[in-house]
């Protein structure tokens, strides 16, 4: 493509990272289903292992199919590089492994996906990486949580399941003042709806299982490097700024510049912990991304129609969807997600916990399962499932109280989805 044109999002969604295969001419990205790659000779092998040359060695560290996915997501987010891994949780683990040392702290919004609350609050503690919770709706709470041991701030652009929209720019100012990177989980918005790098994020993580893949068929995660953070300024990020003994004393930031973070996540974290993405999953996620813009438009259109229907229903106590005018996050949604507020919404039933359990069992198009971002519409009662392992207080803080029902609205005909919910609501006492 002519270099004076800046390609649009929809073009990038189809083309970024994917040239024809140079030997066969295959136009769809081939699934390079191989564990390993042949070296020319011992010197070539040494160059690859020593990071002196670019190339594939072993699929745990990199694979050409996965690399197309990586470049595509990096291009859609406007980042310098990306790393695709086995799941969104693996992405978070490698990001924090690269940033944290034992005894360090990071600040996270307490309104997160329940799985992230567990990972940060329970499992990370075993490495002495200490989360300090803040309130995503109260910027000052982030400011107050900063200590000399703070190494990062973590938020979701659109929170799961609360549907709230985060003031990324305001929190990025707190991160700047603290001299730490802002990490944004952009899973619920997808790069089509929200661009966290434009608002001051330094690193983006995705569960690619959700809207990127979009078809509920593959688990995957992606880390995107914004190329914006200066890892060497104060020497507080030794993985990036100090010699790495396993590479003979190489310094990642000095050697790889503005994509050093993504390379370090790959060449140390992924190499040693091993949560590699299967090339087959990468292929499915890539195929999904080609229709991301079309799907997100339909997801948002349907979600708005359903939230309006629910808002007017007499058995529904409240609806949280930032796309609804009057929602307390509507102004933030207009700023950060001008093309739509996404597909995930929550609502409360006047009948409480029991009504929630009954509703999710009486739908016939919506599927009762623990995922979001599928072409199919999904329904869940978080208090009895995804957020079950949290305390009652944590559940309420995360927007998953006992009366809450979560929907991930699919791309079916919205009239059919509304009819399905209407019939299930009718069945409630």
């Amino acid at each position: 493509m002519s270099e004076d044109r800046i390609p649009g999002f929809d073009t990038l969604a189809v083309h970024a990272g994917a040239q024809p295969d140079p030997t066969t001419g295959a136009r769809a990205t081939p699934i390079y289903q191989t564990s390993s790659f042949v070296f020319d000779d011992a010197d070539h092998a040494a160059s690859l292992f020593g990071l002196e040359a670019f190339g594939n060695i072993y699929t745990r560290i990199g694979n050409p199919t996965c690399a197309v996915l990586e470049e595509r997501v990096a291009a859609l987010e406007g980042g310098t590089a990306a790393l695709a891994v086995a799941s969104g949780h693996a992405a978070q683990h490698l990001v924090f492994y690269t940033i944290m040392d034992p005894g360090d702290e990071f600040i996270a919004a307490r309104q997160l996906y329940g799985g992230s609350i567990n990972q940060f609050g329970q499992s990370f503690k075993k490495s002495d990486w200490n989360v300090v919770w803040a309130d995503a709706d109260n910027i000052e709470s982030f400011e107050k949580a900063v200590t000399p041991r703070t190494k990062a701030i973590f938020v979701e652009s659109i929170a799961n399941p609360g549907g709230r929209v985060t003031d990324i720019a305001a929190i990025s100012q707190v991160a700047r003042r603290a001299g730490v990177p802002l990490i944004v989980d952009n899973t619920l918005a997808s790069p089509y709806l929200c661009n966290p790098f434009e608002h001051g994020a330094d690193i983006i993580v995705h569960s690619a299982t959700k809207f990127l893949g979009g078809h509920g068929n593959s688990i995957g995660g992606v880390i995107v490097d914004g190329g914006t953070f200066n890892w060497s300024r104060e020497g507080r990020y030794p993985m990036l700024s100090k010699p790495n003994e396993s590479y003979g004393g190489l310094i990642f930031h000095e050697t790889f510049g503005n994509f050093a973070f993504a390379i370090a996540c790959r060449m140390v974290g992924l190499r040693d912990y091993g949560p590699a993405l299967s090339p087959f999953n990468a292929f499915l996620i890539l195929t999904g991304i080609e229709t991301l813009p079309l799907r997100m438009q339909k997801h948002c259109e349907n979600a708005l129609a359903i939230s309006e229907f629910l808002d007017a229903h007499d058995k529904v106590a409240w609806v949280n969807y930032a796309g609804l005018p009057g929602d307390r996050h509507h102004n933030l949604a207009e700023k950060y997600c001008p093309r739509g507020a996404g597909a995930v919404l929550t609502f409360g039933l006047k009948g409480g916990y029991e009504a929630g359990l009954q509703l999710v069992s009486n739908v016939y198009l919506f599927s009762l399962l623990a995922n979001i971002g599928d072409t199919r519409s999904l329904i869940l009662h978080p208090a009895s499932t995804t957020h079950r392992q949290l305390t009652e207080q944590q559940r309420s803080a995360a927007g998953a109280g006992s009366d809450v029902v979560r929907l991930s609205v699919g791309i079916e005909d919205k009239e059919d989805l509304i009819a399905d919910l209407e019939a299930a609501l009718e069945s409630l006492p």
Binding site: E52, A74, E254, T255, G257, F259, I263
Partner: protein, 179 residues
């Protein structure tokens, strides 16, 4: 030239027309970026002359190390500077003297005054970039590392015609041993 954002064609043309690179600050330390770049550019077919007074007379990757730019007797197309931004001043003046076509300052190095002098003398200038990264980006090799190349193309990538996983910027020629 806007040194904050170079058009791909500008970098591409420089790399394509360059045959001999004088690399000032070449290191014998195998994990220093200058050693990486020396090895990579040699592998891509460039003639690279390492310049380092501390190593003068020794060989680096088979190349004779020269003590100073002014000691080089053969024509030099590009001077690649692996020194700090202040040192880039004098080296740029030597590059102008040498009638090099390009002055290239590595990642993290820029010197606007030196760039203006070089451009006034008719040289092309690149600052705060790495020729290895740029070559790998424009040829497509860097995409294997998940890096955003910023390029879209439905054309065939150019295979270097040797071994596996080597791409090139050079126009393809018909050679019997091309792989």
């Amino acid at each position: 030239m806007d040194h904050s954002r170079y058009p791909d064609s500008y970098i591409h043309n420089i790399l394509l027309r360059t045959k001999t690179i004088a690399m000032v600050g070449a290191s014998a330390n195998r994990v220093r970026p200058s050693y990486f770049v020396l090895k990579y550019m040699l592998a891509k077919g460039f003639n690279v002359i390492p310049v380092n007074p501390g190593l003068a007379g020794q060989h680096l990757l088979g190349q004779l190390v020269i003590g100073s730019l002014t000691d080089i007797t053969e024509p030099v197309d590009m001077v690649d500077i692996f020194r700090n931004s202040e040192a880039a001043d004098g080296i740029t003046d030597q590059a102008i003297e040498l009638k090099a076509a390009t002055v290239w300052m590595q990642l993290g190095i820029s010197n606007t005054d030196a760039a203006v002098r070089a451009e006034t003398a008719g040289l092309d200038v690149v600052m705060n970039r790495c020729p290895k990264i740029e070559y790998a980006r424009l040829s497509g090799e860097i995409a294997w590392a998940g890096v955003n190349s910023g390029k879209l193309s439905s054309q065939k990538p150019k295979l270097a015609g040797k071994g596996f996983q080597h791409l090139t910027l050079r126009p393809q020629r018909n050679r019997k041993n091309q792989g």
